[in-house]
Symmetry: C2
Subunit: 155 residues, 2 copies
DNA sequence: CTAGGGGTTGAAGCGCGCTCGAACGCAAGT
DNA sequence: ACTTGCGTTCGAGCGCGCTTCAACCCCTAG
């Protein structure tokens, strides 16, 4: 599996400083890499773009996360909108949001205007989880670097 | 599951600034919470101390991560050394190290002195993974906060 | 006309990291 | 004597997030 691709793209583009302006990041994938006027993409193309496998994209569709149109042959056609959503999904998965919560969120989005409050709650909870996770990792990082420094120390 | 306990302890004790001196942290769990002269702990006590379930501790033993002694009744007795190792294991798991890699590492530790080089490599790889993961999360955090800010925006 | 390379489906399988269930042992309290 | 509570073992089961399989379809190029 490699959601790695997507992140690689993002990380490469990011000016690497932690508190960098983020507007550019949004442009990067939401607006520039995905051109609204592009013809719809095949599942293989879409998968490559977001760094997932075609199989995973089909799986996400079964889970109701995306609903690409079909062409005459019954093949999926991912519109710019679909792709945008896929990018979002990939990011959220990557940040540790569960499929369950993500499907809930997407269902709310599809449900429309009256659901903003719950959506915002979901995202706030997600932000808190990310922050918590970052703190965990920062701590673990220190332990790991300590081990590296003390090299042959027991344990 | 709650490895949470352990981390909660650590996070509570940490002066919360990201680049804080870490020596204190080591003291906290490696030296103060685990007193060398304490009598050995039961599995329930040990589990509570590191924030894992007794079941998980048995599982870790099956995986050769720890080998507590047994008392006359065949019950496990976790020594200060065992507990120290459990704390380390919990931290490494929490930081995303796989069981496979962790068992490998522990096997090397148990093997002794001639394995320092590989151990150090494992830890370096782990450090890199943590750094990568933190960058991923930082990015996802920005996206999430963007969503929260723009609130009712689609997707 | 046929071979190849894309696509489709539904159902089953998998790897990870636990977690649970069943059957049992031991020691203390009432 | 017996219940309670903590421990033991082995093996099976589970939830998550994909991934694989088998059978089939469609289009194009040679």
């Amino acid at each position: 599996m490699s959601t790695d691709l997507l992140v690689a793209q993002l990380l490469d583009a990011a000016p690497d400083s932690t508190g960098a302006p983020i507007g550019a990041l949004h442009r990067l994938l939401d607006d520039s890499a995905i051109d609204e006027s592009d013809p719809a993409k095949s599942i293989a193309e879409a998968a490559a773009l977001v760094g997932l496998s075609p199989t995973t994209l089909r799986y996400y569709e079964r889970q109701q996360l995306v609903r690409p149109a079909r062409n005459a042959a019954g093949h999926r056609e991912y519109s710019a909108l679909d792709l945008r959503r896929l990018v979002f999904i990939a990011r959220m998965r990557l940040s540790g949001m569960s499929m369950q919560e993500l499907t809930r969120y997407i269902a709310l989005v599809d449900d429309g205007h009256t659901t903003q409050q719950e959506r915002q709650q979901i995202m706030s909870a997600q932000r808190d989880r990310i922050l918590h996770r970052i703190r965990e990792l920062t701590l673990a990082l220190e332990v790991t670097e300590y081990k590296i420094r003390t090299y042959g120390a027991p344990e």
